[in-house]
């Protein structure tokens, strides 16, 4: 008997669409019938309400059956249940009132029914697809799916579980196995839950990846029913599987740091990728949101002067400005940037000899994320102008007369990812100090050399064999 009961629960997702359709149709006809032109459809309202009511009751019954499976967030489920029941009640009232003359009460009832259907439907969607499913598409732009992952500067210092494994589980398993939803009675959002396991028992056995369901399931044939994550959901990548396997097989547990755990050659690239991915994940960086379009006249005058001014992408107002085509860059041309100072995000202005005013102007382009001013006449004084460019991620100062003193003025650039200081007045032993001042920045000292080894110039010859 209980099997049959569970079976009808599976029809809930199909049935729920019937009352939505019938009742919306009933309400639509009801509102339309107020107009004289459509008065003829009044009898249909009653039929639609009747059908809506019957299907709503059926949905309630099947829904109740489905809810006993117990894989859903209780609070949301409760609201959904009561809202669903009230939809049935209201559809009954609507049916009863449908052959009565129009009154204010009828209007209120119809509007309430409408709202109830929408709320119930949304709650149902939340139960199936997870919290915030509706607006996911909008959110993904500002916080990518990787946002759950912490910035790992040095992977060896990171915690195996908290910094590496948990974010993967949250990303790929959290949809069905976390606070909002517990398919199979399993939660994977914390040490205790993982150790507790699910309906079918333990999922984690330290030291034995293939004995741990949490890993084993992901290795099954993707077509198999038990394969996790289920077909159609984002799958674990090869790298993620390597890491999970390593986490279980190496007995890393829940508190160890990466460096405290044995690392086979196979996991090294996966671990390193965790680290370097973070350094450059923000890379093509343009500021969030958009900005007003730059004045066309300003763009024209720059283009006429030979400057390349382009949006960073089609449909973007952020600008990429490049002076590479101009053999000799004058202050007069740089001054043309003034009207678009807020729109520029990438600026290439290498080999320029600029006045104080020009540097000041560049310092006002505070949305800049990438600035290449290699081989310019930038000095330890004029660099002060750049200290307000706090969105900078990339700064190329190669070949300038900058010294450690000048670089110190860049301290406010908290987002700086990459700083290129080859062929500057910064001395070799200054770089350790600088790295301490800018712990999050990758500082390139340049000055690379390749040792000459005999093989570079010697050629191998086969021994001559006498016939």
């Amino acid at each position: 008997m209980s099997n049959v009961f569970a079976l009808i629960g599976n029809f809930h997702p199909v049935l729920v669409h019937l009352p939505i359709g019938f009742l919306f149709l009933a309400l639509l006809f009801h509102w339309m019938s107020g107009k004289e032109k459509y008065a003829g459809i009044l009898p249909a309202v009653r039929i639609a309400f009747l059908l809506g009511m019957i299907s709503a009751v059926l949905s309630c019954v099947t829904g109740w059956s489905l809810s006993t499976g117990g894989e859903y967030d209780e609070d949301t489920l409760d609201y959904h249940k009561w809202m669903g029941i009230s939809v049935s009640v209201f559809s009954l009232i609507g049916y009863q009132l449908s052959n009565k003359p129009n009154t204010g009460l009828k209007k209120v009832i119809s509007v309430l029914t409408f709202l109830l259907i929408i709320i119930t439907g949304h709650l149902g969607g939340t139960l199936t697809h997870g919290e915030g499913f509706l607006t996911k598409a909008f959110n993904s732009k500002s916080d990518s799916s990787r946002s759950a992952r912490k910035n790992i500067i040095n992977v060896q210092e990171a915690q195996v579980f908290n910094d590496i494994i948990q974010p993967i589980l949250q990303d790929k398993c959290g949809g069905c196995h976390s606070a909002t939803k517990q398919k199979g009675g399993l939660r994977l959002d914390g040490k205790d839950w993982i150790l507790k396991g699910g309906k079918d028992g333990k999922v984690f056995e330290s030291g034995n990846p293939l004995g741990s369901e949490i890993y084993k399931r992901s290795t099954l044939d993707p077509l198999e029913e038990k394969h996790m994550p289920p077909k159609g959901k984002p799958q674990l990548t090869e790298q993620e599987m390597t890491l999970i396997n390593w986490w279980i097989s190496s007995n890393a547990g829940f508190v160890k740091k990466v460096k405290e755990v044995v690392q086979e050659p196979k996991v090294m690239p996966a671990l390193l990728a965790m680290q370097s991915a973070v350094v450059s994940v923000k890379k093509p960086a343009i500021p969030e949101g958009n900005i007003a379009k730059a004045p066309e006249a300003a763009l024209d005058s720059l283009r006429k002067a030979g400057v390349i001014v382009l949006p960073v992408a089609a449909n973007s107002n952020w600008l990429n400005v490049n002076f590479v085509s101009i053999p000799k860059i004058s202050d007069k041309v740089v001054a043309l940037l003034a009207p678009i100072s807020k729109q520029i995000v990438w600026l290439k202005l290498g080999y320029a000899d600029l006045s104080k005013d020009s540097w000041k102007l560049i310092g006002q382009c505070n949305n800049l994320t990438r600035l290449s001013i290699e081989h310019t006449n930038l000095t330890d004084e004029s660099i002060a102008n750049l200290s307000g460019l706090n969105n900078l991620l990339y700064l190329n100062l190669v070949g300038t007369r900058i010294s450690v003193k000048g670089i110190a003025l860049l301290k406010p650039l908290s987002k700086l990812d990459e700083l290129y200081l080859g062929q500057t007045m910064v001395k070799t032993n200054d770089f350790t100090t600088l790295q301490k001042q800018f712990p999050k920045t990758v500082i390139d000292s340049g000055n690379y050399h390749l040792e000459n080894i005999p093989a570079d110039t010697q050629l191998l010859k086969a021994p001559v064999i006498k016939k």
């Binding site: 990548t237 090869e238 790298q239 050659p265 090294m268 690239p269 390193l272 990728a273 370097s276 991915a277 350094v279 450059s280 994940v281 890379k283 093509p284 960086a285 343009i286 030979g306 390349i308 382009l310 949006p311 960073v312 992408a313 089609a314 973007s316 952020w318 990429n320 490049n322 590479v324 085509s325 290449s372 290699e374 990339y394 190329n396 190669v398 990459e418 290129y420 080859g422 390139d444 340049g446 000055n447 690379y448 050399h449 390749l450 000459n452 080894i453 093989a455 570079d456 110039t457 010697q458 050629l459 191998l460 010859k461 086969a462």
Partner: protein, 499 residues
Amino acid sequence: MSKNNERIFEEARLKNLELATRRVFFKDCFLGMGSMALGSFLSGCNWLGSKDGTAIFNSDNPLLPHAPHFPAKAKSVIYLHMAGAPSQLELFDYKPDLMKLDGQDCPQSLLEGKKFAFIRGVPKMMGPQANFKQRGQSGAWVSDHLPHFATVADEVSFLKAMQTDQFNHGPAQLLMHTGTPRLGRPSIGAWATYGLGSENSNLPGFVVLTSGGKFPDAGKSVWGSGFLPSVYQGVQCRSEGDPVLFIKDPAGMDRDLRKASIDAINEANRMSYDEFKDPEILSRISQYEMAYRMQISVPDVMNINDEPDYIHEMYGTKPGKACLANNLLLARKLVEKGVRFVQIFDWGWDSHGTDESLAIDYGFVNKCRTMDKPVTALLLDLKQRGLLDETLVVWGGEFGRTPMQENRDGKKMPFKGRDHHTEAFTIWMAGGGIKKGMSYGETDEIGYSAISGKTTAFDVQATILNQLGFDHEKLTYQFQGRPFRLTDVHGRVINEIIA
């Protein structure tokens, strides 16, 4: 001078007057009717792509820079093609188990139903002919053939499970660069220039450099423009003699005279534009002007002699010679000046073992030696200029080499060699928003076939376009009645190696 101009204008005036003569009128009517009829037959062939909403071709200035679909991670690409296909088994794909089988007959299971370019009958297996070590933090396997490159292995992402379906050089090279083994499609560089234009208005957007004494087997189509307007084809430059052929002014013609003659021609063209308003005339004018500018800027950028000594030493250049080291240094100079796509071909990697220069234990090792230092220097030089971050470097061949020793025509060969192999090869990418120290894809224990993380030429092309800011499915060109794209109906961006 003005007297010469008068003569040109006079000639232009006469040509114009001819248009009104009875003879020209009849001739034009005759041809005109024919072409009108033809035009109506071909109305489905919208070959300039003007109906296509995504068409970006601008006949006034076809190289005008454009914005890509989304913000780019790479502004330029240097594609290093080791023509002939280097052996992955002696460089990056370390297979100790293959050593155990060295000298044994190849099992039938590996030969049944397979086709090889030269292997016949039952070949012998051949173990790795190099010593391998894990390098850097990433633990990437790199053989002793590349001692310099081994020091920068942490900078690159390896694709170890590349596959192709072409086992001859020409078609396989075409597939890598144009997305089809047959002739007639535009190359990646042509697509990139079509999509992005040229950043430096004084230089071509797509430059090709060759070394190794031979052109790639696929010929110039491998940097051709296919059905795209021909302005997008690769401009082949030489590191020996004149960088671009026929770009020098002829003897006795000085720069001022050249300028004056181009001005005069353009003025005549402008006069006819005023009369006919044909935009093709404007295009012609801008081409003349660009050619004039390039006469100065191309020899300038192609001159590597003004580079400091330590750079020459780093790359190991041989001034005045056509060699890979010179070309790589040039590539860096070009990218620095805003060239979008530099394609480099180095011939001589076809290690069959037919003679000493193609022996896996002699000629191949020597090829590695001439490539190792300059390629490493290129990566480091780009890095120290802050350019590696925005320049995508791709290294690879057109296919891989067999784990079996080649036995051409079923006979033992004079030297050790490996045959062409389609089922597994390694390429690497670096810079331009690619992960560092990553290795993606695996081959089986003996390196015969890719088993996981398989990638193809289409995937590489999709990834290159992606780094340049393009959705490879949306960068299209209307031709023969349908939109074409580089990856045709294939291709997946290899997100696993993208930072």
